[in-house]
């Protein structure tokens, strides 16, 4: 709060007896100034506040120990009052006041001033030569809770009192000082000034009115002071029914009327920017009202521009001081943005601070268990992201760029799956998440990918810490265990294999488990809502992870909590709804072991997990249970992985579960630091696991492999000119060198990628259709050699390039003696062949169409357009099979895929479950 101290040792009245009843203030010992003929004459303007007891207010005014006894004028709709003058509005009351009056005491009828309040006001205003003085407002009916002692504002008029919520008056602000404004609930103003200013703007609500009046008083050359010795209990009825946006609109009007045009020139745009940022920041916390308030405030003011101009004109006549006089009492920056920043930081820090140590004070932060573990883990995570932060995300394996959010949404909603030769099968559910992330960054897909990836590890670390907290752990190990979760035995294998989604699935899993592991006494729909809200994105990234919370609930719950947790574990299974379309279309993803990574268990990890879990198992129950369950999960998952049963989806879930298990062992082992042999051994095992996890994190990409496929295969779009770059056939004997899923070929692995750049949705290959079978047969023939024109054989598949990665293949010998695959020496490290017989991916009789969103578009043609995609009758308009491919009617200039209604309905199931979860959370909050 910016204020200027004028005086110390202001008159002080006893604070012992406080008024607790707003309608019946107690009398304190009075010190009347009877016989003081020179005392200023005061007229009390008692503003009628709806719902306030006017008679009580009049009675309180009557008990004021001030001579000459002030005359009272009731302002507003007071009905008929005996012996009291009534004025319809403040302006009239002020205008009609007798010239003998020195001061007006503007008082709300919901204010209950102490008997000496007026005297204190007059005394201090006189003593300081001020034009306007405000009382100290205390909340009526409370033990001296401060409401206002005069306020500073920011440049937009946003009040900044500096008071904590519920702060008790301990005379800590009892200093007379100049302030930006005083509240209109109780203010003393010089009569001449009030008449010059024509009173309070009747359009404004109370706080804004006070601000406006104070600002006008100041630019008219008056001093505005806060008089803490004048204590007034305020019922706050004047604030009731006044919507927040009205105060905001009032402040805006006060700003627009007070400032000079030069100031407005920068303040208005600044205010608009602040309003936008404030609205967005509020939305981040789920609050939509600020946005509406800003819009309403501006709308209200736009409607009242004429009256605002009139007020400005009036103010110009009385102005004797510049805007600098106002700036003197204003806080720097924006109060609203500062509040948002404070809330954000407190929420973020709160994530690490179960014990609310931060809330208790910064000095005790480091004494809080877990906080240094969180900070250390966070620092490591930040260092582990250095390559991503400085050089960008790798594009390799299944870590691929996002498509535009509209295209991703369209593919998700039953759109065409463009992977390989295309398929009507659903895309991987993480495609939906990429669309959501991209929308959050306003379509900046690269930024979405980078930011989300960097944050994922932090989310995992915090999630692991919070899960540990829920399981009764309090030490630093639970946050450090987040590193093991994100780079432990399983996640590191997946990340090392280029699985970007594994990072997110691992990061979300502890949150989901935590939501399921509700503590005793947690009931209500909100807890189910959180389970659903977390289960859907978890399943979107790793569909088969959803049973893990149920398993954890089974293993970790005491008897009393088991039923409740099992029910929530079962509810978590609903999250898989988001993946049902994908799982139906890709059964091999669950069943085909041939697509798995099939990693070999790392002996170091096996030893460390076993040692850590066994050692912790010999500790007290609190740690034993967590460590044993973690150890069983980790080791059991690895044992299951040794059996070649299940596809890559099963493998993914087991690997992430193995990391979660290892992380639980670390949480238990590092939960308490004590110099006991057993504890020290457990700590050593846990620390060793963290150290081993740092290995994968050491590459600066969270363990993701390096590589930039966009650059490596960038020659496709670069050399294709105006035509569609078609597809690339990428081939290798080492399938790890190829992006995403691959198909087995004769002596090599292969897959097709989009020539214009492979995107996230293409990482998963749908089940083979006729075109894929035809391509496999073509490759078998080419690989056998003796074909002079393999390019012509590949042309129907729109393959413009053949790229061979890794070790030399027999296929290359077959490609030596041929006529239409031109070896092209490019500095990519791969052997690249340009197809001299290439054909367009969407070929019309008189030209070619190009990709457009999830379909194709080009010049309308009277003939048919052949699309080099697997035939499906859903292609429009008028799909006709052309061997394995499809032709469409070219007259509309557009080809698009129209999914059957059941497919669309299935795609909507996941988001609906998510929204249902949100609804339950909101319902739960309202119930609470």
């Amino acid at each position: 709060m910016t204020a200027k101290i004028l005086l110390t040792g202001a008159d002080r009245f006893t604070m012992a007896d406080r008024m607790t009843s707003p309608s019946a203030p107690e009398l304190t010992e009075q010190t009347p100034n009877e016989g003081n003929a020179t005392a200023p004459k005061v007229l009390v303007l008692l503003t009628v506040i709806e719902g306030a007891d006017l008679d009580a207010a009049l009675a309180v005014v009557g008990r004021q120990v001030y001579e000459p006894a002030p005359e009272v004028v009731v302002v507003g709709d007071a009905g008929k009052l005996e012996g009291v003058r009534v004025a319809p509005d403040l302006e009239t009351a002020i205008a009609e006041a007798d010239q003998s009056i020195d001061y007006f005491w503007i008082l709300h009828s919901d204010a209950r001033p102490r008997p000496d309040a007026l005297r204190a006001l007059v005394t201090e205003v006189e003593r300081n030569g001020a034009a306007l003085g405000g009382s100290k407002l205390l909340v009526a009916g409370t033990p001296d809770v401060l409401e206002s002692v005069g306020s500073a504002t920011d440049v937009f008029g946003e009040p900044y009192s500096g008071l904590e919520e519920g702060e008790i008056d301990l005379q800590q602000y009892d200093v007379v000082r100049e302030v930006a404004f005083v509240r209109s609930a109780s203010m003393l103003v010089r009569r001449d000034l009030a008449q010059g200013l024509r009173g309070i703007d009747h359009l404004l609500p109370p706080i804004a009115a006070g601000l406006d009046f104070s600002q006008r008083a100041r630019i008219a050359g008056g001093r505005v002071i806060s008089v803490p010795s004048s204590e007034v209990y305020h019922q706050g009825r004047c604030d009731e029914g006044v919507e927040g946006w009205r105060e905001q609109a009032g402040r805006l009007r006060a700003m627009l009327t007070a400032y000079t045009p030069l100031t407005l020139l920068w303040v208005v745009p600044y205010e608009i920017i602040v309003a936008i940022l404030h609205s967005l920041g509020s939305l981040l916390f789920g609050r939509w009202r600020p946005l509406v308030r800003h819009l309403a405030a501006w709308g209200w003011n736009l409607v009242r521009i004429p009256s605002t101009l009139k007020l400005r004109s009036r103010n110009r006549k009385i102005r004797v001081a510049g805007d600098e006089e106002l700036f003197r009492f204003q806080a720097r920056g924006s109060v609203r943005l500062r509040e948002i920043g404070t809330e954000l930081s407190s929420r973020v820090l709160g994530l690490f601070d179960d014990d609310q140590a931060l809330a208790r004070g910064a000095k005790r932060v480091w004494a809080a268990p877990g906080i240094w573990g969180a900070v250390l883990a966070g620092a490591i995570a930040l260092i582990a992201a250095r390559s991503i932060l400085f050089t960008g995300m790798p594009t390799t394996g299944a870590t691929l760029p996002f498509e535009a959010p509209t295209v991703s949404f369209s593919r998700w909603l039953g759109g065409w799956n463009d992977s390989g030769l295309g398929s009507p099968s659903a895309v991987h559910p993480s495609t939906l998440m990429t669309a959501v992330l991209s929308v959050l960054t306003f379509g900046a897909t690269a930024a979405a990918r980078t930011v989300a990836t960097v944050l994922s590890v932090f989310v995992g670390i915090v999630g692991m810490g919070r899960l540990g907290g829920r399981l009764g752990l309090r030490g630093p190990g639970r946050y450090l265990a987040g590193l093991v979760l994100m780079a432990g035995p399983g996640t590191a294998v997946l990340a090392g294999n280029g699985s970007w989604t594994a990072l997110f699935a691992a990061a979300l899993l502890p949150w989901l488990v935590r939501a399921v592991m509700v503590p005793d006494g947690w009931e209500g729909p909100g807890s189910f809502g959180w389970v659903l809200v977390l289960a859907v994105p978890t399943a979107a990234f790793a569909p088969l992870l959803t049973p893990v919370p149920l398993l954890m609930a089974l293993l970790l719950s005491p008897r009393g909590s088991m039923t409740r947790r099992l029910v929530r574990g079962l509810v978590a299974l609903a999250g898989v709804a988001v993946a049902v379309p994908f799982l139906i279309g890709h059964p091999e993803w669950i069943l085909d072991a041939g697509q798995r990574i099939l990693p070999i268990p790392n002996r170091i990890w096996v030893g460390l997990i076993t040692a850590g879990a066994v050692l912790a198992a010999m500790l007290a129950d609190r740690w034993r249970t967590v460590a044993v369950v973690g150890g069983v999960l980790a080791l059991g998952s690895w044992v299951a992985l040794l059996f070649p049963v299940g596809g890559p989806g099963v493998e993914e879930a087991l690997l992430i579960t193995a990391s979660l298990g290892a992380a639980l062992v670390v949480s238990a082992g590092l939960d308490m630091i004590a110099v006991e042999p057993l504890r020290l051994a457990a700590i050593a095992a846990a620390a060793a696991m963290i150290v081993v996890s740092l290995g994968p994190l050491g590459n600066g990409r969270y363990g993701l492999p390096s590589g930039d496929l966009d650059e490596r295969y960038g020659f496709g779009p670069a050399l294709s000119g105006d035509t569609d770059p078609g597809r690339m056939l990428v081939v290798s004997a080492d399938r790890d060198l190829l992006p995403g899923e691959v198909r087995p070929g004769p002596g090599f692995w292969y897959r097709l990628v989009d020539g214009s750049g492979i995107t996230h949705d293409e990482a998963w290959l749908p089940g083979p259709m006729e075109g894929d079978i035809a391509l496999a047969e073509t490759l078998r023939i080419i690989a056998a050699g003796g074909e002079l024109r393999p390019g012509a054989m590949l042309a129907p598949f729109a393959i413009d390039w053949v790229v061979i990665e890794g070790p030399e293949l027999e296929l290359e010998a077959a490609l030596v003696g041929q006529l239409d695959l031109l070896p092209t020496p490019l500095s990519t490290g791969a052997r690249v062949y340009e197809n001299l017989s290439s054909a367009e991916i969407a070929a019309a009789d008189d030209g070619a169409w190009t990709r457009s969103g999830a379909g194709y578009a080009g010049e309308p043609t009277s003939g048919r357009v052949r699309l080099a995609v697997n035939y499906d009758p859903g292609w429009q308009p008028d799909a006709v099979a052309d061997e394995w491919a499809v032709t469409v009617d070219g007259r509309t200039g557009r080809a698009y895929y129209e999914a059957p209604a059941p497919d669309v309905a299935m795609a909507l199931a996941g988001p609906l479950v998510f929204l249902g979860g949100l609804g339950l959370i909101i319902w739960g909050r309202r119930k609470r």
Binding site: A593, G594, Q595, R596, L598, I600, P601, R603, V606, G607, I609, T610, A613, V614, A617, M618, R624, V628, G631, V632, L635, G636, W638, V639, L642, F643, P644, A733, R735, P744, G745, P746, G747, F748, W749, R780, I781, A783, A784, G785, G786, E787, L788, G791, E810, V816, G817, Q818, L819, D820, L821, L822, P823, Y833, L836
Partner: protein
């Protein structure tokens, strides 16, 4: 779960991880069996008093095409249908006047063959076109001494540029010249090197073509005065067969293609079959050895075996005529002999097996007849046939077939092309 049970469970899982074998990594499907090529690369000379005729023959019906390539592009092409007799002859002059270029003949199947006959004013050469293009080929029997002129023709009909290194040996030892290293044969182009301009005066010259990128088909044209012969560079091998026409003079050339010393042995086929080793010897890398046919008079065929890969060729020359061909490493039940013959030819058949063969020779021309003949075990017979576009030899026992044309100043000698006529 009790403490002991917990520890036991953990220990059991850890033990299972140690004991259970890790699953094997998935492998892609097996590489397919190699398909034989169905094309031939032929040296073509058109102009300078010489013209080329290509004979194309096939045992199955189907379209064929000829593409003449030079300097990275196609300079002429023609599609052809093999007649009912299964053969045709294409005069290149009808396709394009192109100079010295390469010709790619796309054959209807792997059981087809092409041959290139280059006619000069008084000379004629005939050689089957190249069907197999390995990364290393070798040729021997050339000379740049006296009136001899040796021209190497490297052809690359394929999509990518090829790079080859020539390892050239002569009686002077290994020849060193910048023009022999990193010879670039452009895609769809040829590189023609007159060795007389580089290493003149060499009595004998052998050339190994090591291809480091792409593929190169190599053929040589050797002139001696007015006479000319042409033969192909082939992949070296350790066992060679070649019949010898009756009544000819000339020499058998054996040359070593690989580093180190090579022991070789020449077995002679006489009227009664294999008569024993006539000659043994050793060769160093790139060295060649000649065996005069006069020294082995009465020999109907030879078999050469060696401890390391060598190449064997036969040169027929009587001082005014010259013809040559490379021996074969293969026996087969069917042979195609592209001829583009305008006069009578002799088909020389060798049966290296130990059982008699029933052989049918067909002249592929309109009204061409069939000539059944019995070929005794380890025997050689020679058939004189009328002119035809090509000849097809079918045998129930794997044999070797060669074409010899002796007429006036121009002889022609060409090993047949083994085909699968099953």
């Amino acid at each position: 779960m009790s403490r002991a049970l917990s520890i036991l469970t953990l220990a059991a899982l850890a033990a299972a991880l140690v004991v259970l074998p890790a699953p094997a990594r998935p492998e892609p499907g097996p590489a397919p069996a190699h398909n034989p090529s169905s094309f031939s690369v032929c040296p073509v000379i058109e102009g300078g008093g010489r013209t080329t005729q290509l004979a194309v023959a096939s045992t199955v019906e189907g379209p064929a095409a000829l593409t003449l390539f030079a300097n990275g592009s196609t300079v002429g092409s023609i599609e052809m249908a093999l007649g009912s007799n299964g053969a045709t002859v294409i005069p290149i002059v009808d396709v394009a006047a192109v100079g010295t270029v390469g010709g790619l003949v796309e054959l209807p199947s792997a059981s087809a063959a092409a041959g290139s006959r280059i006619l000069g004013a008084v000379s004629s050469t005939l050689e089957s076109c190249i069907t197999s293009i390995p990364a290393q080929v070798f040729l021997a029997g050339g000379s740049t001494a006296g009136q001899s002129e040796m021209t190497l023709h490297l052809m690359n009909p394929f999509a990518g540029d090829a790079v080859a290194t020539l390892v050239v040996h002569s009686e002077a030892g290994r020849e060193s010249n910048n023009r022999f290293s990193r010879v670039i044969v452009p895609s769809r182009g040829s590189a023609v090197m007159n060795l007389n301009e580089v290493i003149s005066g060499r009595e004998w010259v052998t050339v190994r073509v090591d291809v480091t990128r792409g593929r190169v088909a190599a053929a040589v044209r050797q002139t001696r005065g007015e006479a000319a012969a042409a033969w192909n560079a082939v992949e070296p091998g350790v066992s060679w067969l070649i019949p010898i026409p009756t009544g000819v003079d000339g020499r058998l050339v054996v040359a070593s293609a690989t580093p180190g010393s090579v022991e070789y042995q020449v077995d002679l086929y006489g009227a009664e079959g294999v008569e024993g080793a006539a000659l043994t010897g050793s060769l160093s890398e790139g060295e060649e050895s000649s065996l005069s046919l006069a020294d082995i008079a009465g020999t109907r065929a030879v078999r050469v075996v060696a401890t390391s890969p060598v190449v064997v060729s036969l040169e027929v020359s009587d001082g005014t005529t010259l013809s040559a061909t490379t021996a074969t490493q293969q026996t087969a039940g069917s042979w195609l002999l592209p001829a583009a013959a305008s006069q009578g030819v002799r088909v020389v058949l060798l049966n290296p097996e130990l059982e008699d063969a029933s052989v049918v020779v067909r002249a592929l021309r309109e009204g061409g007849g069939e000539f059944p003949v019995n070929l005794p075990a380890e025997g050689v017979i020679e058939l004189s046939l009328d002119a035809a576009d090509a000849y097809l030899v079918d045998s129930d026992v794997p044999i070797v077939a060669m074409l010899f044309e002796a007429g006036g100043a121009a002889d022609a000698l060409a090993m047949g092309v083994p085909v699968d006529n099953g």
